[in-house]
Every structure is written in structure tokens, then in C-alpha cells.
């Protein structure tokens, strides 16, 4: 699904965040990217989203070199990115409105995109937002806002879902239920999922595979397989706890 080949990127000349970096993600996998702040984990996500451009090297998504944001990729950010002046329903419909605005040109919207109002109701229902649909983002809770952002992205039927610290501003119970929700959605909808997080626990819950980044420059991908992924009651599973221990040690190196 994603091939990152010989990627180099820097914000400040001479201080590369990525240097000749290689990494690949298979279709349908769920990955987390874990690392301390400033390690470049969000940068990598935005590069894969096509919002930032590599200095050298290339990023292929679904076999095509990435030059701009790809209409089939969805991006979810920490502070939701909702329009404060639009209702929950209008926010969920935003992506469809944008597609209608341009028409299916292959650049802003996939050529074969079908637009349906029905999808909006479906996703509002799936994410438990039907009763909130006429409210504004300022009137609903953080968890509901993030669910709105997820509905807004999934209504566009993405094949790749990118999430940047999606749940770090939520309280612990809401965060756990959102993590479970995302895994359910991933299982049901044939998604490739990449979540950036600074939380060891979240990385271990959401990642089939975990890409560990450390202080830049990142030159090689340190990938850790997660045997506890998708287990029922994963939070009390010994494999999960062992994994968290390993991640903690690797991060503090």
C-alpha cells in the first residue's frame, strides 16, 4: 500500500529529520508510529498524506508516486479540524460538498466517486451522532467531536486512514472506547490504518506493527511486531504488557 523509498526530509538545512529512510506498509495493515516529540512521527504522516513534500526520495501510495494529497486517503488530526460554524451534520458532509464543488476530476475527488446523502446518515448512525447532528462543534464533547471528524473522513470511503495523535486530548475512558471503535471500524471496512501517537499504550493497542522513531535523523525503520493486537481484553493481556515494557525500554534508550 505504501512504499517509502530513500526518503530525506528536513525543516532546517543540514538537520535532516529523515535521511535515506525506507519503510513499507501492506494493504489492510494497522500500524502505529511511536516516538518522543520532535522525532518526526507527525512529519512522516503528513508526508504520506501528501501535505508535505519530500526533499528527496519518493513515496508510493497504492503504486502511484505521491505529488499531492490523494483523494482516497483520509487524515484525522488531534484537535479534530472541524468547522466551528457548521453543524455536526454539515461537518460530516463537508468532504462530499468539496467533491461536489469540483466534480469527480481525479485530482480532488476520485473519478469513480459516488456521492450519497444516505452515507451521511449511515456514518452519523455508526458513530452514534444522530442525536447530535444539528448541534455545533462547540456544543458537543471532545469524544463526540473526534467521532464527527472520523465520520467526516469515513464518509468519503478512504482506503487509507491516517491519524495524528487522534485521541490524546480525550479523557481516559473516552480514549479507550475510541480506540476500540477504531479497531472495529478497521476490521469492518477493509482499511489500511496508520496512527501516530506518543502514548506507548495506544501504540500497543492500535498497532499490528509499530514503527518506532527516535531522535532525528531517522535512517532506518525500527519495526516491532505486536502479538497481542486484536485480542479480546487486550489491556490485561500479558503479551500486551510485555510489549509495553519493550517499547518503554526502546524509547528511553
Amino acid at each position: 500500500m505504501i512504499q517509502v523509498k530513500n526518503l530525506s526530509f528536513e525543516y532546517v538545512t543540514g538537520q535532516p529529520v529523515f535521511l535515506d529512510f525506507n519503510w513499507s506498509v501492506n494493504k489492510g495493515e494497522s500500524w502505529t508510529i511511536l516516538g518522543p516529540s520532535g522525532c518526526g512521527k507527525s512529519t512522516l504522516l503528513y508526508l504520506v498524506a501528501g501535505i508535505r513534500q519530500a526533499l528527496s526520495g519518493e513515496i508510493l501510495v497504492d503504486g502511484e508516486q505521491l505529488m499531492r494529497p490523494r483523494p482516497q486517503s483520509g487524515l484525522i488530526i488531534q484537535d479534530y479540524g472541524l468547522l466551528p460554524w457548521a453543524s455536526v451534520r454539515e461537518n460530516v458532509a463537508l468532504g462530499l460538498e468539496v467533491r461536489r464543488f469540483y466534480g469527480p476530476d481525479g485530482k480532488h475527488a476520485p473519478i469513480d466517486a459516488t456521492l450519497s446523502e444516505y452515507d451521511i446518515d449511515y456514518w452519523l448512525d455508526q458513530l452514534g451522532l444522530t442525536n447530535q447532528s444539528e448541534k455545533f462543534p462547540g456544543q458537543i464533547s471532545g469524544g463526540q467531536r473526534q467521532r464527527t471528524a472520523i465520520a467526516r473522513t469515513l464518509v468519503l470511503k478512504p482506503d487509507l486512514l491516517l491519524m495524528d495523535e487522534p485521541f490524546s486530548s480525550l479523557d481516559a475512558p473516552t480514549r479507550e472506547s475510541m480506540q476500540n471503535l477504531v479497531i472495529d471500524l478497521w476490521k469492518e471496512h477493509d482499511l489500511t490504518l496508520i496512527t501516530v501517537t506518543h502514548s506507548i499504550e495506544e501504540a500497543a493497542i492500535l498497532g499490528q506493527k509499530i514503527l518506532l522513531l527516535n531522535d532525528p535523523p531517522n535512517v532506518s525503520a525500527n519495526v516491532i511486531e505486536n502479538n497481542s493486537f486484536g485480542k479480546a481484553e487486550v489491556r490485561s493481556d500479558p503479551d500486551y504488557q510485555k510489549l509495553c515494557q519493550i517499547l518503554r525500554e526502546q524509547l528511553s534508550r
Binding site: I77, L94, G95, V98, H108, G138, L156
Partner: protein, 246 residues
């Protein structure tokens, strides 16, 4: 409820006026009853023409100010280098009471409509510019990026983000400055003109000593100011319901 309290306040003010007029008992303070009768009589004469002349000046300058100030404000709010360049200039120009520029504006633009429209334009322009700029600056890059990730390019960003984001700022700017605008219009209309409520009030009061008619003009000017304020208020509720949602 809201309408009723406003009407009640209006009634109390008229009552106060009435009582004052009785106490003072001078021709320079006619009762509201007399002024009301005069107003109705003057509406059949030349008052509507003066009212429309004033209204047209405010309307044209408001429209021009919105058209020029909002795109400029959006640009400054979204571009740090541009704002760094212009911010000190705006900082210097913003607090100048624009009305003192009136004689200069008249020298350059003449005594016609253009100089009056330009005066009010100046006042509204800076107010809208500053508020739209500050509003646009609160649109964080993350919001823009997440909308871009939904497929929005430059045009869609304008349609779905920048345009709706600037409407409340424009309306706030108008609400704050509509009073000043009408006040400056009054002063501007005292200068060499034969049309407008400012001229009308001055003519009736200082030249013809027709005090009831002068008061009718004052009432008309107040109605103009209040009407504009009311329209802005109504637009705000209509276009920005999210600001009133609890």
C-alpha cells in the same frame, strides 16, 4: 420578548423626553408629539430625499469597505510575512480619528458624494480589515490541512473555510462601527452639500430656526443608525447561528 423590552425602553425614553419638554418649556425643545407630527408632514416633503441620500452614502461605503477590506484582511491573517510588513502601518493608521481627515479628503475628492463615501469607507475599512485579519489568524494550519485532506484546493478552501470564517468578523466590525459611520456622515454632510440628513438638520436648525423640523431630522438620522444596527444584528443571527448556540 427581546422586541418587547426594546419597545418598552423606547416608550420610556419618549416619556422622559416629554417630561423634559414640559419642564423646560422652550421652543428649542419641542415635545415628541409636535416632533412626530412634523416628521409625518416632512415625510411628504423633502425629508425622504435627504434620508435616501444619506442612506446611499452609508450603503455604498459599507459595500466598498467589505469588498476591499475582507480579502486584504484574509491575506494578512493567513500570511505571516505580509502581516509583518503591514502590521506597523495599520498600527499607526488604525487609531487616527478618520474624521479629522475630512478637510483633506474634501480638498482631494471635492464636495460631492465621492468624498463623503470615501470618509465612511476609511472608517469601516480599517475596522473590517483588523477584525477579519485577526479572525483569519485564528484559523490554524491544522484546520486548513484537515480540510485540504478532504480534497479541498485553493478555491474550495475559500468557499468552505475563508468565506464563512470572515462573515462573523465583518458583521462584528460593522456593528462596532455603524454608529461612528453615521456620526461621521453627519459631520461630512455639514460641508458644502445640499443633500443628506446632516445638511437637513443644520439647515432647519441654524438657518431656518424650524426646531420641530430639526428634531424630525435628528429622529430620521437616529432611525438610519438604528436601522443599520438592526440589519447587522439580524444578519448575524441569520448567518452565524453557531455564535448564539449555547
Amino acid at each position: 420578548m427581546r422586541g418587547r423590552t426594546v419597545l418598552l425602553a423606547l416608550a420610556s425614553l419618549i416619556l422622559l423626553w416629554q417630561i423634559l419638554a414640559w419642564i423646560v418649556n422652550l421652543s428649542i425643545l419641542p415635545t415628541p408629539w409636535v416632533v412626530g407630527q412634523t416628521l409625518i408632514r416632512e415625510l411628504g416633503r423633502d425629508l425622504p430625499g435627504h434620508f435616501l441620500a444619506s442612506f446611499w452614502r452609508v450603503f455604498a461605503s459599507t459595500l466598498l469597505a467589505i469588498l476591499f477590506a475582507s480579502p486584504f484582511g484574509l491575506m494578512l491573517g493567513q500570511s505571516k510575512p505580509l502581516n509583518r510588513f503591514f502590521a506597523p502601518v495599520i498600527y499607526l493608521l488604525y487609531p487616527i480619528p478618520k474624521v479629522v481627515l475630512l478637510p483633506i479628503v474634501v480638498l482631494f475628492l471635492g464636495i460631492g458624494d465621492v468624498s463623503k463615501i470615501f470618509m465612511i469607507f476609511l472608517i469601516l475599512f480599517f475596522q473590517i480589515l483588523v477584525l477579519v485579519r485577526d479572525q483569519a489568524a485564528t484559523l490554524r494550519p491544522e484546520l486548513i490541512q484537515s480540510v485540504r485532506s478532504l480534497g479541498a484546493g485553493r478555491r474550495a478552501l475559500f468557499r468552505f473555510v475563508y468565506l464563512p470564517a470572515s462573515i462573523p468578523a465583518i458583521l462584528t466590525a460593522l456593528r462596532q462601527s455603524v454608529g461612528t459611520a453615521v456620526a461621521v456622515l453627519y459631520v461630512a454632510e455639514l460641508f458644502a452639500t445640499q443633500k443628506g440628513l446632516g445638511y437637513y438638520i443644520y439647515l432647519k436648525g441654524s438657518n431656518l430656526f424650524d426646531y420641530p423640523a430639526m428634531y424630525a431630522g435628528v429622529v430620521a438620522m437616529s432611525v438610519l443608525g438604528f436601522g443599520l444596527y438592526f440589519v447587522v444584528d439580524w444578519l448575524e443571527r441569520k448567518l452565524c447561528p453557531w455564535q448564539f448556540a449555547s
